[in-house]
């Protein structure tokens, strides 16, 4: 079992991704959860770089960290914890845990050769395999071309724009209600440090 630099980097980013994700699910404080979400998504961006998809890595950081998570934080700030709930999780969380664990084991068992590896003689998983074929140097240009090529992804591309438009209009319709504005800036604060948010 040879450990290369790439394998170490892979392990580090995987740990960031999974550790951040665990914190998202477990943390009491919603603001912290959002920050951990950023960390986790940053780890995913690192994995994308390792997979030779730098454009997707950049897009991941710009869209997820720079936009979606910021939006989530804005939303968190708009809905302060009126009900100071001490419980973060449902009471039936063991069931969910069992379900998730079962799914994980099932996925790993069916999708990976890990089971065979373990069955043979202990842990002998190899961290390096032969490189798959190289990514063409102009793959990014090809991406741009394929997006506007009527024979390839033009239709999904325009549909994506349509989806964004519909989402934006719908969201503005939902959020922008000038008739009732309960979220005045001076609304009563919801008690002490909001660490008990669900």
């Amino acid at each position: 079992m040879e450990i290369t630099v790439e394998a170490i980097v892979f392990l580090v980013f995987s740990a960031i991704t999974l550790g951040g994700a665990l914190q998202v699910v477990l943390t009491r404080n919603l603001f912290h959860a959002a920050l951990y979400l950023m960390l986790s998504l940053f780890g995913v961006a690192g994995l994308f770089v390792l997979l030779t998809a730098p454009f997707l890595a950049g897009a991941q950081v710009v869209i997820y960290i720079g936009a979606i998570t910021i939006l989530i934080i804005f939303a968190i700030m708009l809905t302060p914890q009126v009900t100071r709930v001490l419980k973060v999780h449902h009471t039936q969380w063991p069931v969910a845990l069992a379900l998730a664990a079962l799914l994980f084991v099932g996925l790993v068992w069916t999708q990976t050769p890990l089971a065979d590896e373990l069955g043979a003689d202990g842990w002998s998983a190899d961290f390096t395999v032969e490189d798959p074929a190289d990514v063409p140097a102009d793959s990014l240009t090809d991406l741009g071309k394929s997006l506007v090529d009527p024979e390839r992804y033009m239709l999904p591309f325009e549909a994506a724009s349509l989806l964004l438009m519909a989402a934006l209009i719908g969201a503005v319709l939902l959020v922008n209600r000038p008739d009732d504005n309960p979220d005045a800036e001076a609304a009563p604060a919801a008690g002490a440090r909001p660490d008990q948010s669900g």
Partner: protein, 119 residues
């Protein structure tokens, strides 16, 4: 498209954060620290702070974030298009114009709804 060009970024991520930390540590060792309750109070123009810092915000901020998310996703898609533009025909411009216009429709709608006003 190789990983090599990213080694520098990786090293920078590992080592670069130390540079801002060094002056912080320097300050930590050099500066005096005699905190007292009055000093540690939250700054609020001389009066006692009332309630938590987690105040509710106006939905106003949120609408701008909404519009931004939609535009940000679109901008990311514009990058590969701009990259390949020299190798594409005029139809590429037309398609991108449609792509942009669809979102401009949403922007105009938001504008007309008065959601972009800061009341």
């Amino acid at each position: 498209m190789t990983l090599n060009e990213w080694i520098f970024v990786g090293l920078f991520l590992m080592a670069g954060w130390m540079l801002p930390v060094v002056p912080l540590l320097l300050g930590y060792w050099l500066a005096p620290r005699r905190p007292n309750p009055v000093k540690k109070q939250i700054y609020e123009c001389g009066v006692q702070t009332v309630g938590s810092a987690w105040v509710q915000f106006r939905a106003q901020y949120y609408v701008f974030a909404l519009v931004f998310v939609a535009f940000d996703v679109e901008l990311v898609f514009l990058f590969p298009w701009a990259l390949a533009y020299n190798k594409l025909g005029l139809f590429a411009l037309f398609e991108m114009a449609v792509f942009i216009l669809l979102l401009v429709v949403a922007l105009v709608y938001t504008w007309r709804k008065g959601a972009l006003e800061w009341s």
